[in-house]
């Protein structure tokens, strides 16, 4: 790593930079089996970060994390009822990443991500109604029912999808950041992808171009430790994703993705680097997916026990606990927010249910821009 942007990483000392597989273990260990020491330390860091964040923001972060959690739970319900078709990749367990990252962006910054994008879409400003309606394949959906679960788009909030080819969004985001620089703006582009996407050639080709041309693109790897049923270890020879930045001289950080404030802090540094110096960053957030890969996942590639272990560090639970201890929110407040969020999600479902199917004529629109 270079550009000294390795705060989190450098904690573990110098040999961590040697590229030996040893370090690959370190972060994995830290995230997947949180020792008592570890979590105490995390608590301390979190408290420190609390001070630097204003109350409104803290509440907003919690509210949003809760919103996307409840949204996904409802989506799962609708899916089981057959009201949502196709695949449906839920985000439960990873909320701290999308909410934390996107919370530091400006409205005119861009976001691109994969098929696991409901939370990102909502965080960037698409209404839960429009996202749910898209899942229902209705005309009121953010892609007018043509994209579905994996292809949410909204140009008005600079949410550029929703891409279903693993790794496909990485060159696209690189191009978006190329355009913002070309136009002389200081807009930043955030590109989310899973750790399994890192094995795709498109990751390699993109990071090289991004550093070669100094593009303000932030590559956010949501390392939930599984690509479908394949664990990190079974797919990657060196499992330290952040470390891979060394092959491109790109700045990188490894961060606990269960801690929304840690996510925010790291993203802020990357956004600074992008906006001020027009330089890319690779961020690895270690997180975990509590539900199956998609609704059809039997999930027999991991144990209940493993999932439960990670659920002890449920990002929502952790953050709620902190907010409570710090007396930032009372039980009454939490109850009220739960109420509001529930109402918002129910409203989204109602909207989706009532929204009409796309007009049959839509089958032949939007193929070429000319007809527009």
């Amino acid at each position: 790593m270079s550009n000294g942007a390795t705060e989190t990483r450098s904690r573990a000392g110098a040999d961590e930079r040697s590229g030996s597989s040893a370090i690959a273990e370190q972060p994995k260990a830290s995230a997947s089996t949180p020792g008592n020491e570890e979590s105490k330390k995390l608590k301390r860091d979190q408290k420190r970060r609390l001070e630097d964040t204003d109350r409104e923001t803290l509440i907003q972060l919690f509210r949003q994390m809760l919103l996307v959690r409840r949204f996904e739970e409802k989506a799962a319900e609708s899916y089981s009822l057959g009201k949502i078709g196709g695949f449906c990749h839920l985000y439960i367990g990873q909320e701290a990443v999308a909410i934390g990252c996107i919370s530091v962006l400006r409205p005119d910054d861009y976001v691109l991500t994969s098929y696991r994008e409901h939370a990102h879409a909502i965080a960037k400003g698409i209404t839960p109604e429009a996202v749910m309606a898209e899942l229902y394949g209705k005309a009121g959906g953010c892609s007018h029912g043509k994209g579905g679960s994996m292809h949410m788009f909204d140009s008005s909030v600079n949410f550029l999808g929703g891409h279903a080819i693993v790794g496909g969004q990485i060159p696209l985001a690189t191009g978006v950041s190329f355009a913002t620089k070309y136009k002389g703006t200081d807009r930043v582009t955030l590109c989310f992808f899973g750790e399994a996407a890192v094995n795709q050639g498109s990751f390699h080709e993109s990071l090289n171009m991004a550093q070669l041309w100094k593009l303000p693109c932030i590559y956010v790897c949501e390392n939930n430790q599984y690509g479908m049923g394949t664990s990190l270890e079974r797919a990657m020879s060196l499992q330290d994703v952040a470390q891979k930045a060394c092959a491109y001289d790109v700045a990188s950080e490894f961060v606990d993705g269960m801690d929304v404030l840690a996510v925010r802090e790291a993203t802020q540094r990357a956004v600074e680097r992008a906006r001020k110096q027009s330089l890319p960053t690779l961020l690895e957030f270690r997180t975990y997916r509590f539900m199956g890969h998609s609704m059809s996942d039997p999930g027999n590639y991991r144990t209940r026990r493993e999932i439960e272990k990670h659920q002890e560090r449920d990002p929502l639970k952790l953050f709620r606990a902190t907010l409570a201890e710090e007396k930032i929110l009372s039980d009454k407040d939490f109850a009220r927010i739960e109420e509001e969020v529930k109402a918002e999600v129910d409203k989204a479902v109602r909207f989706a249910e009532e929204s009409p199917e796309p007009d049959e004529g839509e089958l032949y629109t939007n193929i070429y821009a000319d007809e527009q």
Partner: protein, 326 residues
């Protein structure tokens, strides 16, 4: 004969060929521990172990090329694409390495490899995950392309494909994995590549259908029977090499032909079949060959639009009535 699903028929073929030849191995995303994204490879890791059933990283270009290299060095790889949509990332290795190696090496390196997986339309997964690519592969000399429409064909053709010394693109229809049919037990059951199958005999019109369209064509034929129109339904089964003779023979008898396909029309396999029929049986045709193809649009997500994009029995019936001027 046992009645089993397309999925299990394919699974049997894989198991039998893995048992039969040590040089055969299977690789792809989630084919092992996960038992296959569509469960076609269920149980194979347990039976044959990690040496011969290999879970790969998500690197389609890489493992497709790795498979071709392994074939150059004497193995017989079966490379599964979780879906053929992802083979688009691997086309360079499939076309430039697998298809051309034998030719550009002057006959020195044959590439006995099977690229298989589900293709065609799926259920509400939108345009990046729902498309028919057979014409892409069939365009290139050096490749063979197979598309079964019944469990028995699936098993017999896959076994032949695995034993074939050439690169074979084996496309299974994602919507047909659950389709049931009788499959002979015979472990030596093989079906030659390049041999069409007359799925139903008739005299008034010939319907050429493949993959998902075969059951629909048979339904259409039944309906038309009621209306007094007797249809012959032919499933080429192999797109390359293509058994045009069986089709021409039929057309010379019926003097009318309809091609049914779920793929886009432009430069599709239907266009090739239509052109071939006209070139070879022009004087026998009482009507121009009609194509019934998938809508010429990217696949939409919404159920109602998706249904409109995929041809159904009604369109096939209408096309037959058109060519029979009835």
């Amino acid at each position: 004969m046992a009645v089993i699903t397309m999925r299990d028929a394919l699974n049997q073929a894989l198991r039998e060929e893995l048992q039969r030849d040590e040089d055969v191995f299977l690789m792809g995303e989630e084919v092992g521990a996960y038992q296959g994204a569509y469960k076609v490879t269920r149980g194979l890791l347990q039976e044959f172990g990690e040496k011969r059933v290999i879970d790969t990283p998500i690197t389609e270009l890489g493992f497709a090329g790795l498979g071709v290299g392994a074939a150059m060095a004497g193995l017989r790889p079966i490379v599964e694409f979780m879906t053929f949509n992802f083979s688009i990332l691997a086309t360079d290795q499939i076309i430039n390495s697998a298809a051309k190696m034998l030719y550009m090496s002057g006959g020195q390196f044959k590439i006995p490899i099977v690229f298989r997986g589900p293709g065609g339309s799926a259920f509400q997964v939108s345009s990046q995950h729902s498309q028919a690519l057979e014409s892409w592969f069939a365009y290139f000399p050096g490749l063979k392309v197979v598309m079964p429409s019944t469990p028995a064909d699936a098993k017999g053709l896959l076994k032949t494909a695995i034993r074939d010394d050439n690169p074979v693109i084996f496309i299974e229809q994602e919507r047909m994995y659950g389709l049931k049919g009788e499959v002979p037990e015979d472990p030596e059951l093989t079906i030659p590549l390049g041999k069409a199958d007359v799925k139903r005999e008739g005299k008034d019109a010939t319907i050429v259908a493949r993959s998902l369209m075969v059951p629909l064509a048979l339904k259409a034929a039944e309906e038309l029977e009621q209306q007094g129109i007797s249809c012959e339904v032919i499933d080429p089964r192999t797109i390359r090499p293509f058994d045009i003779d069986t089709i021409i023979e039929s057309v010379k008898k019926t003097n009318r032909a309809v091609v049914a396909e779920e793929s886009h029309p432009f430069c599709g396999v239907g266009a090739e079949i239509s052109a071939e029929i006209t070139e070879r049986a022009f004087d026998y045709l009482d009507a121009p060959v009609r194509r019934v193809s998938g809508a010429d649009v990217p696949m939409p997500y919404a159920k109602n639009l998706e249904n409109l994009a995929i041809p159904g029995v009604a369109q096939i019936v209408a096309a037959v009535r058109e060519v029979t001027y009835s």
